[in-house]
């Protein structure tokens, strides 16, 4: 039975690997910067898997060596792994990236997919090399992006697609028969490190999209007369809600949007 090691903060992938009966999950780590709940540890305990937090490549290397021999490392929602550490498992590490590569390489594909008004995106399993999401492609799956989707629903769709992709591709990856595709061109976008802020003079569509990207982070920031407030939705007019909770913002087109916080 092949021995697999997991690194990441994607609970859907971790749970799937725990339950897969044709592999042995020999260890799992989450990055120390990821906030994970006790449910992770309960799940790990239930399946007899040692789960720990690591802060850097050296700690990851140590955990990999403790779990040796490892046939394959699976990474989903982890920080970048150095090439040396990624090559410790017999077959190296694969990463599950939440976009349809080579499009949307980089740390926050959901943000950029929404801001660019895409109608579809996807999930890709790829080899890890020295670049950012640039290793050979091992498998891909698409999903629709609807106007009603926000970052939360896209994360759910991507998680579902990631699990389906593992179900259909992991065996071939492990037995070495998977077909590998080039991963060139496409796009790379920078990481988004700060809360997004809505400013007067932004385009109407831009504001609508920006709100959709921030729903799982407590909304966007907006400078109201009484200071910064969080907003996560647009109401039809300013008259239906208490004035103190509705914040008008003039757009680049000259229209007025009424921002509010629905929570």
């Amino acid at each position: 039975m092949k021995r697999v090691f997991f690194a990441g903060s994607n609970k859907a992938v971790f749970s799937y690997l725990c339950r897969r009966e044709d592999i042995r999950l020999v260890g799992a780590v989450v990055h120390a910067s990821s906030a994970i709940g006790d449910d992770w540890f309960d799940e790990a305990k239930r399946f007899g898997i040692e789960l720990s937090e690591v802060g850097n490549d050296r700690e990851l290397e140590k955990r990999l060596n403790e779990s040796a021999p490892v046939d394959l490392g699976v990474c989903a929602g982890f920080e970048m792994i150095g090439v040396e550490v990624a090559s410790i498992p017999e077959m190296g590490f694969v990463n599950i990236h939440p976009s349809y590569l080579p499009w949307y390489r980089g740390a926050n594909p959901f943000f950029h997919v929404i801001m660019n008004g895409e109608t579809w995106s996807g999930v890709t399993i790829h080899e890890i090399d020295a670049g950012v999401d640039s290793g050979l492609i091992l498998g891909q799956r698409k999903f629709e992006v609807l106007v009603g989707d926000d970052i939360c629903s896209l994360i759910e769709k991507a998680n579902e697609a990631a699990v389906e992709l593992l179900a259909s591709h992991l065996s071939a990856i492990l037995d070495g028969t998977i077909e590998k595709k080039a991963n060139q061109g496409g796009s790379y976008y920078p990481p988004i490190r700060k809360r997004q802020r809505i400013e007067p003079g932004m385009g109407e569509e831009y504001i609508r999209r920006l709100l959709r990207t921030q729903t799982c982070y407590g909304g966007c920031l907006f400078a109201s007369e009484s200071g910064d407030v969080e907003v996560d939705a647009i109401v039809e007019s300013g008259g239906r809600d208490k004035p103190s909770r509705v914040f008008p913002v003039e757009t680049a087109e000259g229209s007025v949007l009424y921002l509010t916080f629905l929570g």
């Binding site: 499009w103 060139q184 796009s187 790379y188 976008y189 920078p190």
Partner: protein
Amino acid sequence: MRTVFLGNDDTLIGHLDALPTIDLVGIVAEERSEVDERYFGSALEYGRANGIPVISPSAFHGLGKVPWNAEFAFCQGYCRKIPKSILDWFPRGIVNFHQSLLPDLAGRHPLNWAIVRGDEQTGVTLHYMAEDFDAGPILAQEEVAISVTATVIEVYRSTILAGQRLLPQVVQAVQDGSRGVPQVGERRYYSPRSFADGEIHPGHTCRQVFDLIRALVYPYPGAWVKVGGEIVVVDSVRRVEAERADDSLYLKQQDGVLEVTSVRGREELAGS
């Protein structure tokens, strides 16, 4: 963020200037020909129209210290290599807009070379400048398609649209202190295009001649052939079965015959 714009084109400067976090304090640009201004705009004119101070590249390189107390610079099609001493002036670095998917097609005229190579895709890269040409870490990158009939001017416009779209995210990343990601893959550097590169050789295939022509359409110097000792700049051709006994100019290529259907007039030759 106190920002200097380096370069002559005005196709991105307006978008940069419109960003709420950008304080455009100066422009380094020079007068350009009427033709170049018509096709690529003029950053110098943008400065004049908007009351932003402009200095020439020569004056900029001779300053010895950062002008206008700037902390960041944005570069689009700048005409000179920027030495390390100037890179060090800007605490937030200099971001360059390059029209290829780096590290492929590093160098001065990436769009022309992409079309000459017959590529069906290219792209844009926004990256921090480093001492070597087009070699610094990448902040954003986006692929742009090249249709088989697209001219360099059409592809230029497509890449500008991509650049305009990426600009807000890149400026945000700079403000966030992002260091970018290293360029990975084979670096392919191409020398600046010269007039000699436009020569049509009999060894070219018909497809290669088409590509050379659309890579060098006006206002670029054009694809050319010598006829009776004189240079003829060829603007369009069509494939024919065989040469006919008429006044047309024919090009015998490796895999067929092309009839020249349009040559560049004197006025355009003077401008290109």
